[in-house]
Symmetry: C2
Subunit: 463 residues, 2 copies
């Protein structure tokens, strides 16, 4: 781990140079909001990351925020929008935060059933010349960021090519036709981004900008430049002096994560002996070998979430105008779908580092409301290293997939993924945390509905 911490220190020193810039612009009139979303970051994920990163007795930076609430995640059935459903996806939950409404899973800024566009915070903010930044480790067109600027039928409608017979996976074809410009729609998500007026957009997803825009001879990327965006695709370019609007796309789709399991290992099933085939109480069980987390080679050259957040803040800050910045740590969720505990842990560490940048910014701009929350729960659970029934002489084990992580404090943490038998785990319906800085005190109650995050942001940000 030591080399990781050295590298991290170097990165933090680089960031501090950026952060120095913040201190020169103390604003009296601007009210800023930084909304940090850990995708799938329920209290299971936070506890897993805490145990690994600072020990079970330690505190992450987000643990040290002064105000905590629980958020009720609300979804409705597409076929019967008056009927509750109890598990959300990133599309409908981010739509709740972005618009204050409730919709069905898969939808981006549109109502369940009726498919009406829902007014989002970015549209309201632009009316008051408030600057907008979006930062993510996913594609900038992925469900969470998209919900803040786009309106489509289905989250898969990410680019002009996907608008026509896009096969999402295994025979699932997304029908985006009603959102085609030719059919009176607003076009794909990437096309909507470049005409949304968003000032800074940093993340992955280059592949969604290389197709030709609908009815145009230019690519979406070309149109972005026509629309005044400076386009960058290399981490080194983050620290330049940009001015104007900035679009940074650092990978074809989701950005590679910082860590993975030793030798790339993922969660594995417990192995039972031959005798166990004959009866549940017979034979023996072998749990997966413990593993450490290690650098993911694919991450080399990627900007950190903190570095992107610092650049966004440098671009957005001004003496007079307010800004809204959404920062998403996307792969807590994506790595949990893939049963990769180390990937989720490294990604949550990225979120905590981005929070450090935000808090540093708020020191010089105290009228900055910082919110840290999640969109929905996820599959991972911490199980005991040994079953609580270990004295019983029968093989007891999870029916799902397990990662046993060697933690730096010298213990073994068992993470269980057991929501389905598919290649990708399910979300869960647990309420999620909301943490705020000092500015949240008195503005947030101990329990809120997810759509109320929109109201909270709006009331703080807009006149």
């Amino acid at each position: 781990m030591n080399h990781l911490w050295t590298k991290r220190l170097v990165n933090l020193l680089r960031l501090s140079a950026l952060i120095v810039a913040f201190s020169s612009s103390i604003s009296a009139s601007a009210n800023n909001v930084i909304l940090i979303i850990g995708d799938g970051m329920d209290d299971n994920q936070i506890t897993i990351a805490r145990n690994y990163l600072v020990g079970s007795n330690g505190q992450l930076l987000l643990d040290q925020l002064p105000m905590r609430s629980a958020v009720q995640v609300l979804s409705v059935d597409e076929d019967n929008p008056k009927r509750a459903i109890y598990v959300a996806d990133s599309a409908n939950s981010a739509t709740s935060m972005a618009t204050g409404g409730i919709t069905s899973p898969g939808r981006i800024g549109t109502t369940a059933g009726a498919d009406l566009d829902m007014v989002n915070i970015v549209e309201l903010a632009k009316q008051q010349d408030i600057k907008i930044g979006l930062v993510t480790t996913a594609s900038i067109t992925d469900a969470t960021p998209a919900s803040f600027y786009a309106h489509v039928n289905e989250r898969g409608c990410e680019n002009p090519e996907a608008m026509v017979n896009y096969e999402k996976y295994a025979g699932i074809v997304i029908d985006c036709s009603q959102d085609l410009k030719g059919n009176g729609g607003l076009g794909s998500i990437s096309e909507q981004l470049i005409s949304s007026g968003v000032d800074v957009a940093l993340g992955g997803g280059m592949k969604h900008f290389t197709p030709l825009a609908e009815g145009s001879e230019q690519t979406v990327l070309g149109l972005a430049e026509t629309n005044g965006y400076k386009v960058i695709s290399d981490a080194e370019q983050l620290s330049g002096d940009h001015g104007g609007k900035l679009l940074g796309l650092f990978s074809p789709s989701t950005m590679p994560v910082r860590w993975h399991g030793e030798d790339g290992r993922e969660a594995e099933k417990a192995k039972t002996s031959f005798l166990h085939r004959f009866h549940n109480m017979l034979g023996s069980v072998t749990y997966p070998e413990p593993m450490g987390c290690e650098d993911n080679p694919g991450y080399a050259g990627m900007p950190s979430l903190a570095a992107m957040t610092a650049t966004a803040l440098t671009e957005l800050q001004s003496d007079e105008a307010s800004f809204f910045l959404m920062v998403e740590s996307a792969s807590i969720d994506k790595q949990a779908h893939g049963r990769k505990a180390c990937g989720s842990i490294g990604e949550l560490q990225q979120l905590d580092e981005a929070l450090a940048v935000a808090l540093e910014f708020a020191k010089s701009s105290p009228d900055t409301l910082i919110l840290v929350t999640a969109d929905h729960g996820h599959a991972a659970q911490i199980l005991s290293e040994r079953t609580i029934y270990e004295g019983i002489d029968i093989p007891i084990y999870s029916p799902g997939y397990l990662v046993r992580v060697n933690t730096p404090e010298g213990a073994i943490m068992t993470v269980n993924y057991a929501t389905n038998n598919f290649v990708s785990e399910e979300h869960t319906g647990i309420s999620v945390p909301l943490l705020t800085n000092q500015e949240g005190i008195g503005r947030v109650s101990a329990m809120i509905r997810q759509p109320d995050i929109f109201t909270l942001v709006k009331d703080y940000l807009l006149d």
Copy 2:
């Protein structure tokens, strides 16, 4: 459901008669603490209960408390007490709350490895003539209440008979010999209760009081009466005028829960078709039929947790002296071990009703700190009614056990239990919530360690 609500109303009206008594004794000097523990009540359990009891958009009473924190649950390894382990049981987590220390699973008020007695809040409070009440739906000798007054090697040492070769289950023999009075110990948990000075103890567990006390010709129950306890065993006796010390034991062990699944159904495995035996991607899957929750006939005649709480408050309240009351809703955990979602929901409803009694009391005694928390996480997860991969033509299902609950708001909530293949599920290592009334504001930070609950109680309660 309607008959249930009617019965509940009648019960609440009965309670209100008891509560009227509170208003006559406004105290200026007494500082009281009511610590309400939902055993296993993590945010999964709260969300499951909320969805069923008030709808996903509704709020339980505990959701309306003004202050929320997250609690880090801390455990250590019995064989190496400097080594963290990441999942607790009720014994070591309640010991943390009762003593401010950290110990290993299974231990009651004793240190890991060295087996030293840890001073608990009841012992400190008795030194200042503070009155003590303990209320639970488990045996009053079960791990959670026991941690507040007893010191033993292992939670199974509940009564004099269990002190000698007690077989807990399936060949697991508990060695309690070191705690025998004859060996210089304090005796079994039930014997320790009746000499602890606890003023009011209400719950289940009569069977732990019927054996002869060690070295005595009296039963533990007989000794309790000798020690000044009035013993009651019928719900009707709760409302009498007791005076002195009160021991209420309303069932042989754990009190039966209010609800169970339709026709007594528990969680069931999804069923797959014949073809699925040959390959994971072949065949079809049938999920368990949805069910409602219904009255558990075994609950008839049991006092509610709210009724016991009201009696305890009536007995404990005084103009001059403070009191400490611990109230445990025990079967959120016990029913989750048994994969019984309706049981856990009804038990969490009991907790919410007990909280109503506590809040009503605090109206007339404003110097009352009310804490609602859990001891550890549990197995249950809410899954989507339909997998998020439902469009894919392969059978996708949880490898664990499912309960599909028809909720009163007209939807189906799927609860997943998938931590092991045994007859009883595992705990999980998620952080747990802490909610407080107005008195908690400024006294609790947004994230605390579980042992800090002891400090919080001590600082509020003691001079």
